[in-house]
């Protein structure tokens, strides 16, 4: 690897530069941008396997500290690869400014993954929020505009709460570095963590996730689930590693998130909302283990990107939510179904998929009391995906029996979209072979048992899924007030419960 500060500065700021240049010459820059994304994912993949780490200071002494290490590279790989998948799959439908915003988003994400400085994280998260806001509002109808308003006002408030925490920490330590936060007071830590949790979309704070996913375009939902929610994970993981009290509190918050959001997802009928709730639950699991949080979030983000890209096109009758949401054209329908099933199985944790490996790493890191709850959450998640797979396959079969030529007809020749989908499907399976230590009897048995049990569980809850069994949370008050509740919960935990 090239161990020079200039290389990493270029790595960080090249996407944004290309994005702004793309405003001038959109057609000329687009292929260069795709090559850059491919290059960044290649570099980060190599760095993951070689365990490369480096730190540097921008502007030398007294400057801003950046650290490219094993928290940064997995998330960087996930973010660049999911952007690559989405941009190439939806190439025909995108306006030019969509990919420009995506490139600026990648720079903001890289800064938030690699920064050691609370203020840089603040700026990067705000930029991420703005980019996500523009991507959500891209659909341009009243519902999505209102939800993007909610997202922006909730995110803005969360970042102000975070800023108050930062200045309280500064009062005692005199610097803005993450490592110096250990001298800060408990309320300061609570405010900082509450702000970060809102951006990461973890339960109570993450109530915005299902609303946005079901009301944004398909490609936007894929990008949001693939990279934007990961932005908060890296700072949380860094904080948890360096501070014992935060690590203990994260176990409480993570378990709450994993169980309650998974329960919501089981009883949800709308596919987009169910995927959103499941995303909240999976990120809750990710923060349980600080050392493997990033790689877990990366794997989950990539699978979610594939799931959202290959979700079935909605019926023409139900145009209430999905007026413009369509799966990519030019790709044979059977391939979409196959990728959907593989990505679902990976999140369920079937052996010989990447989800199995990351789940094994996560389980090895947990305290014994938490592992029971993790298994419950795995069971609930598997139930959700059993339903989703069943729904997807039955829609495909119905389409075949009705013979709709535009859905089934295999388009002429092999195109880029097909190749990208095939490669990503193979990658999910190939990654699982990189760590043979996970394949021992108990582990395989437990994951298979969870999946078989979940299939039975699905048939028993299928009757419960009436139209309005779960009321969707849409009130702005709930979304905006949630960070306060979490800050209070953390404060109570750190002062009195000391779990």
């Amino acid at each position: 690897m090239i161990d020079s500060p200039i290389f990493f500065v270029v790595l960080t700021y090249l996407p944004a530069t290309l994005g702004f240049l793309g405003c001038i010459k959109p057609k000329f820059i687009f292929p260069i941008a795709m090559l850059t994304l491919l290059g960044i994912s290649g570099i980060s993949l190599r760095a993951i396997f070689s365990g490369f780490e480096t730190t540097y200071k921008l502007m030398w002494t007294g400057g801003i500290e950046f650290s490219f290490d094993q928290y940064t590279f997995p998330l960087l790989f996930g973010a660049s690869l999911s952007l690559l998948i989405v941009l190439s799959l939806y190439r025909d439908k995108l306006s030019h400014y969509f990919y420009q915003i995506c490139l600026v988003l990648l720079t903001a994400l890289t800064v938030s993954f690699s920064s050691q400085d609370l203020i840089s994280i603040y700026i990067a998260l705000e930029l991420t929020g703005f980019c996500a806001f523009i991507l959500i509002a891209d659909r341009n109808d009243n519902k999505s505009l209102f939800h993007s308003f909610q997202y922006l006002i909730g995110g803005g408030l969360a970042m102000l709460i975070y800023l108050i925490g930062v200045v309280q920490g500064f009062q005692f330590s005199g610097t803005f570095l993450i490592t110096d936060l250990s001298t800060a007071t408990t309320p300061a830590l609570c405010l900082i963590v509450a702000g970060l949790l809102t951006k990461a979309g973890i339960f109570i704070c993450g109530l915005w996730v299902p609303n946005i996913y079901s009301h944004a375009n398909r490609q936007t939902a894929a990008i949001l689930s693939g990279c934007v929610t990961c932005a908060g994970i890296a700072p949380i993981a860094r904080l948890s590693v360096s501070m014992e009290p935060i690590r203990n509190s994260m176990i409480v918050i993570g378990i709450l998130s994993a169980i309650i959001a998974a329960l919501y997802a089981v009883f949800e009928r709308d596919d987009g909302r169910a995927l959103g709730w499941s995303s909240v639950s999976q990120l809750g699991l990710a923060i349980l283990s600080p050392s493997h949080a990033c790689i877990y979030a990366m794997q989950h983000g990539l699978c979610k990107t594939l799931l959202f890209s290959t979700l079935s096109s909605p019926n023409k009758k139900d145009t209430r939510h999905f007026s413009e949401q369509e799966s990519p054209t030019n790709v044979p329908e059977w391939l979409l179904v196959a990728i959907f099933v593989i990505a679902s199985l990976s999140i369920m944790g079937l052996p010989f998929t990447s989800g199995f490996i990351t789940k094994t790493w996560l389980k090895g890191d947990l305290p014994l009391e938490a592992s029971l709850i993790t298994s419950t959450s795995t069971l609930l998640t598997a139930t959700v995906y059993a339903r989703l797979i069943w729904a997807r396959v039955s829609i495909y079969r119905r389409n075949i029996s009705r013979v709709r030529p535009h859905l089934i007809a295999i388009s002429s020749g092999i195109n880029v979209q097909t190749i990208i989908l095939l490669i990503s499907g193979i990658l999910i399976i190939a990654f699982s072979l990189s760590y043979p230590g996970a394949y021992y009897y108990d582990n395989i048995q437990s994951s298979l048992t969870a999946i078989v049990l979940a299939s039975f569980l699905y048939t028993s809850v299928a009757g419960l899924q009436t139209e309005n069994f779960v009321k969707p949370v849409t009130k702005t008050l709930d979304l905006v007030g949630a960070p306060f509740v979490v800050a209070a919960l953390l404060l109570a935990n750190l002062f009195y419960f000391k779990i």
């Binding site: 203020i119 603040y122 700026i123 705000e126 703005f130 806001f133 509002a137 009243n142 505009l145 209102f146 993007s148 308003f149 922006l152 006002i153 803005g156 408030l157 970042m159 102000l160 800023l163 108050i164 200045v167 500064f170 009062q171 803005f176 849409t474 009130k475 702005t476 008050l477 905006v480 007030g481 306060f484």
Partner: protein
Amino acid sequence: MRFKIIELVTLDTVILLPAIVLLIIGCFGILNSKSLINSLFSLDVIDTATISIFVLIAATSGSQTPILSSAKRYADYSDPYPQAIILTAIVIGFGTQALLCTIALRLSRSTPLLKYTNLEK
């Protein structure tokens, strides 16, 4: 653990009180707003309060302008680092307000009163 209230009341905390009152007013506003415009204003109030807290905490070390000089007048200078950083937060706050106003403008074409009860259906 018993709080000693007398020890808490120092000059530093008393200076911060107005900003914290402003913060509480803003939070009350954002949690009780009935329309988009109200919550937009409340967010701006919280923004101002946060910036005031930041600047006041930075000014506790001294109150003079931070200029490198041997003159006695500038000996008791305030910490320039947080004040330089808060400029970014001010600009970001302004950007957020501008984006929120755009959305409010677009939504007001279909729902002129911008009430949450009409929009949340």
